[in-house]
């Protein structure tokens, strides 16, 4: 998959490019809005990463301009502003996402992947999820592990569902906080970890192979392997 990266800071551009290449994407990088427009006109991209503070153009205007000329690919917005203004929120509703600087590379990759998946998988909405011997019945809101019903609260089920939908992929704490709880802030304490810890206590009982794994400093991943 090919991604267009629009970022004027060369340091950031270089390590994000490296990270995307390392994750198996093809990357075209642009320093400013002008270059980005001409690149986007030449070929289509599966996704775009756009910094808001470009030298020649406001990032939002670039996105609106691209949208206007028919570019439909999802955008991950990078913002150095702390408070994300209304216009970004508006875009977010349209299926895009944003990250404030400084961000974790893992977070960027996770969100990019999330965006691309959301964009490509249109009708695929399963009623059951499987990870190893864990099975989630999304209609009955019931989880079983090797046939044994897990006694989960609705919130725990929602958390497990999110992890299982992203099985094999890293999800970060702020992704969990945003997508499961609908909140965007940086807690001062390990509130998300405690939820995962509790969930793990119910899902990964002693004697069973652990499904929920912690990636230190990054987040969590659910995988059967």
């Amino acid at each position: 998959m090919r991604i267009l990266l629009v970022e004027d800071d060369h340091e950031i551009q270089s390590f994000v490019t490296d990270a995307l290449l390392g994750a198996g994407y093809e990357v075209d990088a642009a320093d400013d809005g002008q270059t980005a427009s001409s690149l986007a006109a030449k070929r289509s991209y599966h996704g775009m990463i756009v910094d808001l503070g470009l030298p020649d153009l406001d990032g939002i205007d670039l996105i609106l301009q691209l949208r206007h000329s028919g570019v439909r690919s999802p955008v991950l917005i990078l913002s150095a502003r702390r408070s994300v203004d209304e216009r970004v929120r508006g875009l977010e509703l349209g299926g895009d996402d944003y990250l404030t600087k400084p961000f974790a590379v893992a977070e960027l990759l996770a969100r990019m992947r999330n965006l691309l998946r959301r964009h490509s998988s249109v009708a695929e909405d399963p009623t059951r999820l499987h990870v190893g011997d864990l099975e989630l019945d999304l209609l009955k809101r019931r989880a079983t592990r090797a046939g044994d019903v897990l006694n989960l609260s609705p919130q725990e089920f929602a958390l497990l569902e999110y992890l299982c939908r992203n099985a094999g992929k890293v999800v970060t704490r702020s992704m969990l906080l945003a997508d499961v709880w609908g909140m965007r802030f940086q807690p001062d304490t390990n509130v998300v970890d405690v939820h995962i810890y509790r969930l793990r206590g119910k899902v990964d009982l002693p004697g069973r192979s652990p499904l929920i794994k912690t990636l230190r400093g990054i987040g969590y991943v659910v995988t059967a392997a």
Binding site: F15, R82, A106, R184, G217
Partner: protein, 488 residues
């Protein structure tokens, strides 16, 4: 936010000012009219007195020269009759009224010698004698059986008897009464007109002041672009409006500058921070020895803490300067609190802290939900960090008259006495706190930016009590009784 319902006119300053001004005006004009009336009265009196004196002198002269024979009565009587036709103040078209004038000749005592007028003149003579009318000085005489007094002048003739000429004051009084009625009518009209004019002008003036007040009250609620309606007038109100607008220009400039500075600071610091963090992270993903990983991970942690600090101090700085950009929407505060507790409850339980939540009312508020999330997170993070195990936290939410009141109480060690009076200041923190001392400053700044208030104190029974008030958009109908208790 909805503007308050317009006050009834009778409570406006314009109304009060007009009332007082009209009162003063009415009293003033009343005095002028009264003086005018008095002047008219004395003028009319003088005219009739002059006529009376003149006529009575003529009559006295005629009576003195006319021989006292049989014709005397006729001659004097006719002269008197003639004189009565020239009565002053006589109403037009109303012929000579017999009762309006009388002529009387009488000695010091005894019956009248000569009487020209209505009736036999006995009553008149009696009245004249009892009020001692002196020659040369006209006097008012009230005669029994007549409704109006007479003005009577007297003169003494050669034979020692007196000649009296009486003029009824009926017409005079009628003229004065008519005038009085006109005066009162004109006075009422002038007063009413005065009231209307004063009310209209003050209302117009104060209307400008009200417009200025309204515009000014909207400014500062994160809107600095609007201006007070600019009045071209050269009066005080126009001057006030222009001064206010100039002040707003300066404030807007300052805030804009602050935004530019914080924005630039944020941007200039963030880009290198992002680059450094990215490089560290990329280097972590390479194959490294365990002893190399640790310092890099620690450096990333420190960078994240630095970022948090940067964010928080810029937020507090902006919020304190009333320059926080709020993206408000209507939410139910009770739901937000419930969600937040659901998120934090496991962490608190993990630390052995028992939480109980009491939500009494559903509270609709117009807030920036993301900021309120952070406010609550701040408070709950604080509880987790500072409360020893086995303590209780009680969180309650209820709707007061116009505000939603959220209270957080615990039975922990309470605030450090040394910082208690400065809890909401920046960089103030307890002795064993690891934070930057921005938490409560941030909480207060955000709540204030929403038009609310925060108070914090140590409870008498130990522990803290922190209460936050946020204005309600409307008090939601049914009250919700909801008690969640969670046990560690």
């Amino acid at each position: 936010m909805s503007s308050p319902p317009p006050d009834p006119v009778t409570r406006s300053a314009a109304w009060r000012i007009s009332l007082w001004a009209t009162l003063a005006f009415a009293v003033g004009t009343l005095i002028v009219f009264a003086m005018l009336q008095q002047f008219m009265v004395s003028q009319i009196q003088q005219r009739s007195d002059a006529w009376l004196s003149g006529e009575v002198a003529v009559l006295g002269d005629v009576a003195g020269r006319t021989p006292k024979d049989n014709l005397y009565d006729r001659v004097v009587g006719e002269v008197a009759e003639l004189a009565s036709r020239e009565v002053p103040n006589q109403r037009k078209g109303q012929g000579v009224d017999n009762s309006a004038v009388f002529f009387l000749q009488a000695a010091e005592d005894g019956p009248p010698r000569l009487w020209v007028g209505e009736g036999d003149g006995l009553k008149h003579l009696e009245a004249i004698r009892s009020s001692r009318v002196l020659a040369g000085v006209p006097r008012d005489v009230k005669v029994r059986g007549t409704s109006y007094p007479f003005r009577v002048a007297a003169t003494r003739i050669a034979d020692g008897s007196y000649i009296y000429l009486g003029l009824s004051e009926q017409d005079e009084l009628r003229v004065l009464r008519d005038m009085m009625i006109r005066f009162v009518f004109i006075w009422l009209l002038i007063v009413l007109l005065g009231f209307v004019i004063v009310f209209y002008t003050t209302r117009r003036m104060l209307g400008y002041v009200r417009e200025i007040t309204e515009a000014a009250s909207h400014i500062g609620e994160s809107d600095l672009t609007s201006r007070v309606p600019n009045l071209t007038g050269k009066d005080e109100v126009g001057h006030l409006a222009r001064t206010l607008n100039r002040m707003l220009d300066r404030i807007e400039n300052t805030v804009h500058q602050l935004h530019t500075i914080t924005g630039a600071l944020a941007h200039d610091l963030r880009s290198p921070l992002t680059a450094v963090r990215g490089k560290l992270e990329v280097s972590l993903s390479r194959d490294l020895k365990a002893d190399q990983i640790e310092p890099i991970a620690a450096a990333i942690d420190e960078l994240d803490r630095l970022t948090d600090f940067l964010n928080a101090s810029l937020d507090v700085a902006e919020a304190k300067a009333d320059a926080l950009r709020l993206s408000r929407r209507e939410i139910l505060l009770d739901e937000l609190v419930r969600d937040m507790i659901a998120l934090y409850e496991p962490s608190m339980a993990e630390k052995g802290i028992q939480v109980s939540v009491k939500i009494l009312d559903s509270c609709q508020v117009l807030v920036d939900a993301a900021l309120i999330h952070r406010v609550l997170a701040n408070l709950l993070d604080n509880e987790i960090k500072h409360l020893p195990p086995c303590c209780n936290v009680q969180i309650s939410l209820h709707a007061d008259e116009k505000v939603a009141v959220l209270t957080v109480e615990d039975n922990g060690p309470g605030f450090d006495i040394a910082v208690q009076s400065r809890l909401f200041q920046q960089r103030v923190k307890g002795r064993d706190s690891r934070g930057y001392g921005l938490g409560l400053a941030f909480v207060q700044a955000v709540v204030r930016a929403h038009g609310g208030a925060v108070s914090a104190s140590n409870r008498l029974s130990g522990g803290i009590r922190l209460s936050i008030e946020i204005p309600l958009t409307k008090r939601s109908g049914g009250s919700v009784h909801d008690v969640i208790a969670a046990r560690a």
